[in-house]
Symmetry: C2
């Protein structure tokens, strides 16, 4: 909401304010803002997603698509409603997402024989292969970069705190 991809001024910086001689542009003060969790959380989230997209750009996977493939792999035999709701995706919105993955032959819908209303989700062979490659790219580029910035111990502490917030806040 507050924060978008497009930060950072373009090349020829603004130079409107110039009362005395030729004062520098004077960057704004964030003040309190930089201590507010929501603000810094949103900014960090945008950076992390941006970096993720770059790291797996060759496979054309968004974070959301990656999470669907991971969850289907880990939970074979589940239907659309179960996968979607676990990820916090509403069922109507999951349809187009699956259409996309299925049209790329990464996963498939299989009508359940027990309950013919349900579509069981499975990864195709190509889907498994792409997911394997994606995991390698994420580990070697995305997570490696994160470890460079924070250090492994801090990275684990960060994830633990964020999980706590997600589950208990």
């Amino acid at each position: 909401m507050t924060v978008s991809k497009a930060a950072g001024k373009s090349a020829g910086a603004t130079r409107a304010r110039r009362d005395a001689a030729d004062a520098p542009p004077e960057a704004l003060q964030l003040g309190e803002l930089s201590e507010h969790l929501g603000f810094v959380l949103k900014r960090a989230q945008l950076r992390v997603f941006e970096n993720f997209l770059r790291c797996v750009a060759s496979l054309q996977l968004t974070p959301a698509q990656f999470s669907v493939l991971l969850l289907v792999e880990k939970n074979p035999g589940r239907n659309q409603t179960e996968i979607a709701s676990t990820l916090g995706i509403l069922r109507p919105n999951f349809v187009a997402m699956l259409d996309n993955l299925e049209s790329r032959d990464l996963c498939a819908r299989i009508r359940s024989t027990n309950d013919r209303r349900s579509h069981i989700l499975v990864l195709t062979d190509k889907g498994k292969a792409v997911l394997t490659r994606a995991k390698k790219l994420v580990a070697s580029k995305h997570e490696a970069r994160l470890n460079d910035v924070l250090g492994t111990a801090n990275r684990e502490a960060l994830i633990a705190m964020l999980s706590k917030i997600a589950n208990e806040f």
Copy 2:
């Protein structure tokens, strides 16, 4: 992307899978997913924004609006472009946001006498009063809750790590 507000199943849980007797619904395994920073970051961010909205619901302020008021207060005499770009908001998108705040008499646009193209942003008296009340609500409800969950020391460490990611990732 991956995660939305609508998690948690509705009241009458699903009970479709029941091969033997009356097996429990078997929750899905998140697996690797819970160790991926982007996933847990997004979930935490949604929770924090949700909580923020509830805490300041009486003032009808979103996190984005709160951040604009804070930044205008801290940086008097700045124009729309400067405030927007510091927050990562694109100038076109900032127009409707300001229209909203101005229509509620929380801030005002003042044509600059130096450069008649610019609109200097200021808080109105009502805007200052609302911001003061918002800060109190955020501190006494939102941040207090966060301290309950994490503890003060952890909260500061978390914000430091997220800032590092936002700035260096």
